[in-house]
Amino acid sequence: MFNFNVEKKSNSDIFDQVKKWDLLIIGGGPAGLNAGLYAKRKGLVVGIIAKEIGGQLHNTTTVDNYLGFNMIEGKDLSNTFLDHINQLDVPILSGTNVKAITNIKPDFQIETENGKKLISKTVLMATGGMPRKLGIPGEDKFANKGITYCATCDAPFFKDKEVIVAGGGNSAVEGVLDLVPWAKKITLVHRSQFRADEILLKKLETIDKLTIHLQTQILAILGDELVTGIQVLNKKTNKKHIINTDGLLIEIGTVPNSYLIKDLVKTNQKDEVIVDNNQMTSLLGMFASGDITEQPFKQIIIATAEGAKAALAVNQYLNQNYKGE
């Protein structure tokens, strides 16, 4: 019933011992973990630094589109990944953020929030994304006062309450499904048409307490001390109206965690990192994989694949193009 989820720690003492790494991977989500696996198998001196192992996998209740698993909980998939790379003894420094990356040509210096300074020949940015905000009035004011971006974390607070889910992609639909055991009434609001998979949308058909408003844009979040409603624009009728609610789950995708390297590499308008066919960024020796890149389909299997690609490309770069010692 309590579902104990022990995070398996790997030995992190080695981060005080290695003078120069071949590859340091920033991020311990699907992209970073798989890159660690591939790099280690190539014999590289590789380490992973991650604030939270598993990344967005932990925000996902069930994953049913990762090849080989019909249906698996996000955290179980994360543990399965971690088990695999622990078998190869890939060192992981978890629980801390990287706070700065400097290019000391041809190498990189990486500084962590807990005071470590590490040198590496190459860096893989696999820092994924964080929840995208609606960017409308009331959103900051009511952050955590009725607004949530994590259904798995916060669903219990909506017990017997009315909740609105903003978004029309897979994660919004999964958010609705996460809320079903708790909420009294659920309203899904999305500014255009559904983008979610057909197979997920089918699951919505049987939920009696769900109302769906498509072509409806949220204009403002209303409330006093806590959220009490949202103001929306019905795009079909061009009329504004208010929908009352106790809470709002926002699931409208992610923004890339590229803030550490924005001044170092080329990014697109959405701040996503631009990479070449080998996952290399515009900066020699710096690679990027997963949700941080401009690749449009933010999925686990794509992130893991990009992680593998980057690790293999790093190996090639170190053998053929690396100019240092």
């Binding site: 398996k8 807990n114 005071g115 955590n144 219990p156 001390e225």
Partner: protein, 214 residues
């Protein structure tokens, strides 16, 4: 009674606890009558205890052992506090069961209280040591929140490094009324001296910034 920890979890917890340096004593306060998760919390400690011989567990009753409860500022049940090898309380507290993801902050608190080095840079440690006001940190969590153990561990590090700081994990589902009182609708939510709030698993500097305002 069925075990709380399955074979896998037991093995992993045992492995983590191998990092313990000195002995610790955990005191669990429960109460008679209706007490949501009291039984399970006691059971959790009983299942963790045999996994390392440096762990000692005491069971107390919130009413029968009132003096003891007062000494450690315990008012809700279940609550776990952890004492170091000299039976000193450093302000690390869990109100509600540290199960689900939160088992990780529980294990990290045991390791810390056993004397395992906390990985914080010297400059920040200096800043923490200089806190000279009484600081009460409440960290509201749910057991399904992956970002919460980090926030609890950060608060506990502050408490461990400075006697003026007390940090309590509060499991919001069991203590929903308290959570409502503090208007919690998203976790982790950190409340400092009932006055300042931090949302999310933030770096320790974010805590120090709020504490400076006190």
């Amino acid at each position: 009674m069925a075990k709380l920890l399955n074979e896998d979890a037991t093995k992993q917890i045992k492995e983590v606890l191998q990092g313990m340096v000195n002995k610790v004593t955990m005191i669990v306060f429960t109460k008679k009558g209706k007490c949501n998760t009291c039984k399970e919390t006691k059971q959790l400690l009983q299942e963790v205890k045999p996994l390392n011989d440096k762990i000692n567990v005491l069971e107390k009753d919130l009413e029968d052992d009132l003096d003891e409860a007062k000494k450690y500022n315990v008012t809700l049940a279940p609550t776990i506090i952890i004492l170091d090898k000299d039976d000193k309380y450093q302000g690390l507290k869990f109100t509600g069961i540290p199960a689900g993801h939160e088992i990780n902050s529980f294990l990290s608190a045991i390791l810390t209280m056993s004397g395992k080095n906390i990985e914080i840079d010297d400059k920040t440690i200096e800043k923490i040591k200089n806190i000279d006001k009484a600081v009460d940190i409440k960290v509201f969590i749910t057991l399904s929140c992956p970002h919460c153990p980090g926030a609890v561990a950060t608060s506990h590090a502050l408490a461990y490094l400075n006697d003026n700081v007390e940090a309590t994990m509060i499991e919001a589902q069991t203590f929903m009324d308290l959570a409502r009182e503090y208007k919690v609708s998203g976790v982790p939510k950190i409340v400092i001296n009932d006055k300042y709030e931090i949302v999310g698993n933030q770096p320790i500097d974010a805590y120090l910034k709020e504490i400076e305002k006190l």
